[in-house]
């Protein structure tokens, strides 16, 4: 919709934080903020929702635990209950202490890896992905706030200059 965006560059994260609060207070929708490092509290200032990735991780862990139990119960107890060194293979519970290290590791493995993959999918990251970076300086020492323009270019530019921007520019957004 908004093909035109206004981009304000800052060179300090404190200034950026105040700018974000000010722009939000003026009821402009911030489309994106690019920073070279995590700015503590930026998500709160922008009013972003909390992540739910920990919940997915918990569920993946449960899945991993289930996989470990089903696998070892089938292999060690049901399919071929051999006597290996006198260990009781009569039921899963009888021999459970020996399975705990695997149950633990599988839980951690599933929880960790599936969560990371979820993170990549959700944040659209993969090899050969084209970098979405409006300005190279934002990977080094500049912070960039991007706001959609709806026929209010001058008003927005004034507001952004007021918040301490070192550079304000209006560009056509690709895609």
């Amino acid at each position: 919709m908004a093909s035109k965006v206004i981009q304000a560059l800052y060179n300090d994260d404190d200034v950026l934080m105040h700018a974000v609060k000010k722009v939000r207070a003026a009821h402009h929708h911030i489309e994106e903020v690019y920073t070279p490092f995590p700015v503590h509290g930026l998500d709160k200032a922008m009013g972003l929702e909390g992540t739910r990735i920990a919940i997915t991780s918990f569920l993946y862990g449960c899945l991993g635990l289930a996989v470990a139990i089903v696998m070892m119960n089938y292999i060690m107890i049901e399919d071929w209950p051999q006597d290996i060194g006198g260990k009781p293979s009569f039921s899963y519970l009888d021999n459970m202490p020996a399975f705990v290290p695997i149950m633990f590791e599988m839980t951690v493995f599933f929880a960790a890896h599936l969560m990371v993959i979820t993170f990549y999918l959700r944040s659209r990251m993969w090899p050969f992905k084209k970098a979405e970076n409006p300005d190279k300086r934002t990977t080094d020492d500049h912070f960039l706030m991007e706001i959609g323009v709806h026929d209010n270019e001058n008003e927005l530019a004034d507001l952004l200059w007021e918040t301490g921007a070192v550079e304000v520019k209006v560009t056509e957004k690709e895609s």
């Binding site: 920990a54 918990f58 006198g86 202490p97 020996a98 705990v100």
Partner: protein, 441 residues
């Protein structure tokens, strides 16, 4: 300044009085002769079980011939008598150790916070110092119980019985270490060192409030680091002396760590509970829910650490199944199924599921509820460490056990909250106090 609420004070007195009565009933109702012991067990088990047991004993005796039967029965009966006589003593000892261990765990946590120069916890230092005040009465009572054991007032420690040692080569081999005089000297050194650090650190902590420079703080930092080294060694030896030597034929390498994890998590839990209580009364206005969140994280993490050690000790012994080691767990599996596995649910599964969520760790009643379960779980942990060695299958959580909890719980609350009234609850000029006031996670 904190003022001890009258309700709590009266409550602690009532608990102590009830505890004394229950313990007294426990001591009075122990059998003094073999016949009484047999009668007690027969009546307690009811008709069906008692008769079946008697028949079994008869058939067992017939197989072995008459001479062996008489000797075997006599020794069996005497063993039973000792177990029943041990019960109130064990109940006393378990509760005395449990509450002492809480104070000691808090002391270790306190020393770590000082040595690590933690920025979040200085607001809670006075709470921790209040709890560790219990080291003095708790330590003295424990020492007296150990002293009475060496004076043969009870049969808690079998290696203290010269007659038993004379017939037991394993105990003779350990006699160089398990010697009553040496045992008491060690106990005195442990207790003296811990109490000295507690009192001295408290003195420096209070002096820092009035000082013009940070020399007291720096001194406290050095003493805390030194104490942690001393504590590491003495805590391990204490666990061999006071707990592991109840089963003098058995040994385990990571036992000291295991006891440490138990006391550490109980101590942190009590810090969280006392903090929440004082905050709810409006005494700790600078403590916010991020402090509670941190304490709850410690409860969560150390609960899992405890489980890790519990399982490591159990699984290694179960897996190798060497007879001299495995008897320890056989006794607990056969006679202590419910407390043994119940404690695992209370100390691991419950905190794991309840305290995993970051939001729940900030909710006071969640932390208190988990704390209560964890504390009962760790009481059971001590119970499981002590009771199988002293009373065997004659255990029950009845009047003497509840009396022990009530008495020492009451004493603990009384002593801790009295100590809290002695100094302002917020340190004045700790270098980290501003950071702690603004701590936010």
């Amino acid at each position: 300044m904190y003022t001890f609420s009258n309700k709590l004070r009266i409550g602690s007195f009532i608990a102590m009085a009830l505890g004394v009565i229950f313990l007294a009933i426990g001591f009075v109702s122990t059998p003094s002769t073999v016949e009484e012991a047999k009668a007690m067990v027969a009546s307690a088990h009811g008709d069906g079980h008692g008769e079946a047991h008697a028949e079994e004993a008869v058939s067992h005796g017939e197989d072995q011939g008459h001479g062996a039967e008489a000797a075997h029965d006599a020794s069996h009966d005497e063993h039973l008598l000792h177990q029943l006589q041990n019960r109130p003593w064990s109940a006393l000892y378990v509760a005395a150790f449990f509450f002492f261990m809480i104070a000691l765990g808090v002391l270790a946590f306190y020393a770590i916070q000082r040595a690590a120069q933690a920025g979040w916890s200085p607001l809670l230092f006075r709470v921790m110092e209040g709890i560790t005040a219990y080291l003095v009465p708790g330590g003295i009572i424990l020492f007296v119980i150990l002293l009475l054991s060496t004076l043969h007032m009870n049969h808690l420690f079998v290696w203290m019985d010269a007659d038993t040692v004379a017939h037991d080569e394993l105990l003779q081999g350990k006699a160089g270490y398990l010697d009553t005089t040496f045992f008491l000297i060690r106990a005195a050194i442990f207790l003296g060192g811990w109490i000295f650090y507690r009192e001295y650190s408290r003195k420096l902590s209070l002096a820092q409030d009035e000082a013009n420079d940070n020399s007291n703080f720096v001194k406290n930092f050095r003493w805390s680091a030194g104490f942690l080294v001393f504590y590491l060694v003495t805590e391990s030896m204490m666990s061999w002396d006071w707990i592991m030597s109840l089963d003098p034929h058995w040994f385990s390498t990571l036992f000291g760590w295991y006891v440490f994890a138990s006391m550490f998590v109980s101590g942190i839990t009590v810090i969280a509970m006392v903090t929440i209580y004082l905050k709810s009364k409006g005494y700790l206005e600078n403590v916010n829910n991020s402090h509670i969140h941190d304490l709850a994280k410690f409860m969560f993490g150390i609960s899992i650490f405890w489980t890790y050690l519990w399982f490591s000790q159990f699984m290694l012994i179960w897996y190798a199944n060497i007879p001299e080691e495995v008897t320890y767990y056989v006794a607990r599996f056969q006679d202590y199924k419910l407390p043994f596995f119940g404690m695992l649910a209370m100390n691991f599964i419950f905190p794991l599921l309840v305290l995993m969520n970051s939001d729940y760790k900030r909710v006071n009643w969640f932390v208190i509820m988990t704390g209560i379960v964890v504390l009962f779980g760790h009481y059971l942990d001590v119970f499981n460490m002590v009771m199988p060695a002293t009373v065997g299958d004659q255990w029950f959580i009845g009047l003497p056990e509840i009396g022990g909890i009530l008495f020492f719980g009451g004493l603990f609350v009384f002593w801790v909250f009295t100590a809290l009234t002695k100094a302002p609850l917020q340190p004045k000029r700790n270098p980290f106090i501003e950071e702690s006031r603004h701590f936010h996670y």
